[in-house]
């Protein structure tokens, strides 16, 4: 077995607590931070985003982090890359690390791409001549030769991302910390990058990567790590971790335990309901999604704006917003229950979704309840149960778009095939059906 290249030992990260009423102490603390007397501008007593994570990645090994948005994947990567200071725990890296988390990181704005690559190469232990040589090679690979002699500040976002990937893969670092930013920014180029992974592993590099694309995770990595609420829920063979990760379920967030000092409202209850109004245990494609929320308010709020949205791995996909429809209660006070039902929404099977909620005051700016993930669920069903019977459908639907919609193909010979939500065989949304699906 090869030696450990990246060791994360008991990593925890807590966010600084929000603005407190004790303005003087927070000002003094900030002043002390600026003066170099304290390492943090605010006490790290806020929400825990990474909780006691132990992780080892060996040379020539790749580990893929999966988890819903906001589960702490990127924070863990930032800590592993040395970009974010952990509240507790230690990071050990053998042979230098490089990271692609935010493509803007690590570039001198007025130096050219080539000069920046030499600077980064030198910082990872390469000689100047070797760095220059590799800069040429990587420019060919990432197809930015025309840009290489221009200052980095002139680079468009996609070009900068390509340059950042090139630096990650081609310069001297042995440990590569890779957030899958190419997923959104440059999907075509991403395919080329993913195809390079076996070569990088053969060179003895260790890769820690985070992605929302579970379909690709299955293809590129034999090891997956499932993170949930800052903790490692499962670490092992990709197929078994993903099987657990994509098990159909509905999870409701913990309720606000106590009143925060400056809070106007707190969540008293959250329920996700099925079409019969019972607590949902699983949603299948095509099921209506009902969200019931009970708020407890300390003061009366006139004409509030409620927002409920459902987000997939790449961000919100549908939203019920009183900013759009203007349908507002005259006032809310004490305990207030509201329900929102999303009808005719066909979510893709075997995908994770989160439900977000926020309330604003009549001015539309003042926050009554901050935007918060109140629940998450994994849809049941399969490609076949949705009427997709092609041999590749089951694998491809994993990392595919989060919503399905009616469509048809028009070809020279007329309509060859159409897909409509009505043709879905997925007419089951009971716990029994979940069991059937698992079988």
């Amino acid at each position: 077995m090869s030696e450990p290249a990246l060791v994360l030992n008991g990593i925890s990260k807590r966010l600084p607590s929000g603005p407190s009423r004790r303005r003087l102490s927070s000002t003094v603390r900030r002043f002390a931070h600026v003066a170099g007397l304290s390492s943090d501008a605010a006490p790290n007593t806020g929400r825990t985003i990474v909780d006691n994570v132990h992780l080892t990645v060996r040379s020539g090994e790749i580990a893929v982090l999966v988890g819903p948005p906001g589960c702490g994947k990127t924070s863990l990567l930032r800590i592993a890359a040395g970009v974010l200071r952990p509240t507790a725990g230690g990071v050990r890296v053998a042979g230098g690390s490089d990271s692609l988390i935010d493509p803007r990181y690590g570039w001198h704005s007025t130096l050219t791409g080539r000069e920046n690559l030499v600077l980064r190469g030198v910082s990872t232990g390469l000689s100047v001549s070797e760095s220059r040589l590799r800069a040429e090679r990587l420019a060919d690979f990432v197809e930015i030769s025309d840009w290489l002699d221009r200052p980095v500040q002139d680079y468009p976002d996609a070009t900068l991302t390509r340059l950042a990937f090139g630096a990650l893969a081609f310069l001297g670092a042995r440990v590569l910390v890779w957030d899958d930013v190419l997923e959104k920014r440059d999907p075509l180029f991403r395919q080329k990058c993913l195809a390079l992974i076996p070569t990088l592993l053969r060179e003895g590099k260790a890769v820690l990567m985070a992605t929302h694309d579970v379909g690709k995770a299955k293809e590129i990595s034999p090891r997956a790590i499932w993170m949930e609420e800052g903790r490692v829920r499962a670490d092992g063979a990709t197929h078994s971790v993903l099987e657990r990760y994509l098990e159909p379920r509905v999870t409701v967030a913990a309720l606000d335990p106590s009143w925060a000092p400056a809070a106007v409202s707190r969540l008293a209850s959250i329920e996700l309901l099925d079409k019969e109004g019972r607590t949902a245990t699983c949603y299948f494609p095509g099921d209506p999604i009902r969200v019931a929320i009970e708020l407890e308010l300390t003061q009366r709020v006139d004409l509030p704006y409620f927002l409920v949205s459902i987000a997939g791995a790449f961000g919100p996909i549908v939203a019920a917003s009183m900013f759009h429809d203007g349908c507002r209660p005259p006032f809310i006070d004490g305990r207030y229950r509201i329900e929102c039902t999303f009808e005719k929404i066909v979510l893709a099977p075997k995908q994770r979704f989160t439900v977000r909620f926020a309330v604003y005051a009549a001015d539309g700016v003042t926050v009554v309840h901050p935007k918060q993930v109140i629940a998450s669920f994994v849809t049941g069903g399969s490609a076949a149960s949705c009427g997709f019977f092609h041999t590749l459908a089951e694998g491809r639907i994993l990392g595919g778009p989060p919503m399905l919609t009616d469509y048809n193909w028009t070809m020279p010979g007329g309509i060859e095939r159409a897909w409509t939500a009505k043709t879905m065989a997925c007419e089951h949304s009971t716990p029994t059906a979940v069991e059937d699906n698992r079988r």
Binding site: H33, V34, A41, W107, S109, T110, E115, G125, P151
Partner: protein
């Protein structure tokens, strides 16, 4: 980056980047901002002053102005480079101290240009030139150290409160009013001693004048020592904060 040659290569690249940022990217703007505008201001203020013959008015102003500009450039292009290039520092590609060292070359290069211009002008006017160059260097050293230290703190404040970038030019301009550039140190009268202790730039500008010209106001006793100590202390404190913390705070302010 362990070998000294690596650090030297990185330093050379960073210096190139810093010089290009301030001078190379927009040379006409740089010429206006760093040469023509200061000359225009010195000429304008000299014409306004009616107390002495024109021939005697501009040299003290130019000498003190060069020192004050070194301070202002050390803040803006020296210490504040840690903020301007924060994306570079966030990935820890280079240590902040190395970037700061490279950035310091910009104000020093501009100071050399300003000094040369003052000396050329004195030569052309056939005015008597002053005493020891060491006094100019000492004055410049105080201004640069004070400016770099203040610039590091300005960068740190900006990270915590980004709107500080809007306030910084006003603060630098205030320092121009609080420093005897447009007026002689003797104009402060009874406050002279206290002012020199409170503001190291007073001593720096006077030393600059002494280095370049013959007639200068005598400095209060121990003023030079106090100014050297206070500007060094500010710079050292700033450098120590670089050593203790990486410049990655914004991530902490989610």
């Amino acid at each position: 980056m362990t070998a000294p040659t690596d650090a030297l290569s990185a330093f050379a690249l960073l210096s190139k980047g810093c010089l290009r940022r301030e001078l190379g990217r927009a040379p006409i703007r740089a010429l206006w901002k760093h040469i023509l505008l200061p000359i225009a201001i010195v000429a304008f203020v000299s014409v306004l002053d009616t107390g002495a013959p024109l021939r005697d008015r501009w040299p003290p102003l130019a000498a003190a102005g060069a020192i004050w500009l070194l301070f202002a450039n050390s803040v803006n292009q020296g210490g504040m480079m840690l903020w301007h290039e924060r994306w570079l520092l966030r990935q820890a590609v280079v240590p902040p101290a190395l970037l700061l060292a490279a950035a310091t070359l910009v104000p020093l290069a501009l100071f050399a240009v300003h000094l040369s211009l003052v000396h050329l002008a004195l030569l052309a006017s056939a005015l008597p030139r002053g005493g020891a160059g060491v006094e100019t260097l000492l004055g410049g050293g105080i201004a640069a150290a004070f400016g770099l230290g203040a610039g590091i703190f300005a960068a740190r404040v900006t990270e915590v409160r980004p709107t500080f970038t809007l306030m910084l030019p006003k603060l630098i301009l205030a320092s121009l009013v609080l420093t005897p550039v447009f007026y002689p140190l003797s104009a402060l009268d009874g406050l002279k001693g206290a002012w020199c202790v409170a503001n190291p730039l007073c001593v720096a500008t006077e030393l600059g004048r002494a280095g370049m010209l013959l007639h200068v106001d005598p400095l209060p006793r121990h003023a030079v020592g106090i100014a050297c100590a206070s500007s060094s202390a500010i710079l050292c404190w700033g450098l120590l904060t670089l050593r203790g913390h990486s410049f990655v705070w914004t991530d902490e302010h989610v």
